[in-house]
Amino acid sequence: MAEPRKLTDLELERELAGDLPAARMADATAADRARLGELRAESEAFLRSVDVDMEVKRIQQRVERAKPEKSPAWWRWLVPAGALAAAAAILLVFLRRGDSPGPGDDIQIKGEGVALIIHLATSGETSQRLGDGDSVKPGDRIRFEVDAPKAGYVAIFGVDGSGKVTLYYPDGPTSAKYDPEDRLMPGAIQLDATPGDERFMLFYSKTPFATTTQNPAELKLDSDIIVLKKHE
């Protein structure tokens, strides 16, 4: 009869993290080692499924957001409007991605406040996080996640390789409410066979805005963009 386990899952997690004293691991039975192998395989699969650099960036953003404001909030109202506009202009980063001009080319990313995250549905209940420049193929199903520090309103547009603009979220003429506690947008979209890169653009505002535009760049709101490369 096989020897029962002597170590808890938590001790095995510590072993994987290099945190368990060697003497304790010396007590491990064959069943413990088998379970350790399972956990190691799960860990490796998890790390393959995430973009660690992107996770680190998100963590750093959260750390920055958690820092207390150095100046009292009211000082901002003492700054002349012209100076505010100039400061805002400095923050605007003009992005040009891809070779062909289109509505997505004029999207301006303001600061680091909002981020669009795209998840590719894979087998079963799992998903793979996609980064800028990642490849997708027709028929792939993706979901959107929005990372913004405060409640507000969001919309997500897409521009396909032919330059066609599609509103992916929400399905209506005005932006959808956003709650930072509920970052995953409802529903999924399936990519069609239109050749060329697909640009996904997130827009965020503290107040509702119209989504009826055919040129999202004119929205001039806080935004983020991800370009996916489509292959057959």
């Binding site: 938590l10 997690e13 510590r14 993290a17 945190d19 956990l39 750093q60 750390v63 970052r183």
Partner: protein, 173 residues
């Protein structure tokens, strides 16, 4: 001078600990995507507070406690109405094939507000994951006596909070 952690150090910390934290968070909130978000939150809290830690626990243990606390706190905040009323999704949702576990999560979320991260971690390991007191002691590198004290305090806390809330839910044992 403010303590600051470099991106490379965070990446190393993430690779070493994130898989275990992902499993811990997912086992509580029942959703892989939400768990990933909680793992980010866990690292952010750890990095923000690291310079203030007086506890001699290892980074793994500190992160594990923060992750457990953040996950239970997330359940607590999934409210639809009055105080401590949880979203029905939590009660039925992604852990639907484990109704007993969901009941226990519901109880823990309601009744553990105010506990420290260490106390909450011990309580979850015992009442949710079914760890023995010896198992908790060896897993967290604390004495069996300390585990006993924490669980006794937990029981007392739960009784008082249940009475205050007029709660007649399932026992957390």
């Amino acid at each position: 001078m403010a303590w600051r952690m470099a991106g490379d150090d965070i990446a190393e910390l993430y690779r070493r600990h994130a898989p275990a934290l992902q499993r811990r968070c997912a086992s509580i909130v029942g959703n892989a995507e939400e768990a990933r978000d909680l793992v980010q939150e866990t690292f952010a809290r750890y990095i923000s507070a690291k310079s203030t830690f007086t506890d001699k626990a290892s980074p793994f243990t500190m992160l594990y406690r923060i992750a457990t606390n953040a996950s239970i706190d997330r359940l607590r905040r999934r409210k639809t109405g009055g105080e401590d009323e949880l979203d029905p999704e939590v009660q039925q949702g992604d852990l639907g094939n484990e109704p007993h576990r969901v009941d226990k999560l519901h109880d823990l979320a309601l009744l553990t507000k105010g506990l420290t991260e260490e106390e909450l971690t011990v309580a979850v390991l015992h009442h949710l994951d079914g760890y023995t007191q010896d198992g908790i002691a060896s897993s967290l590198d604390i004495s069996r006596k300390t585990v006993g004290k924490i669980l006794a305090k937990f029981e007392d806390h739960v009784k008082k909070r249940a009475a205050r809330l007029g709660y007649e839910g399932r026992a957390s044992g």
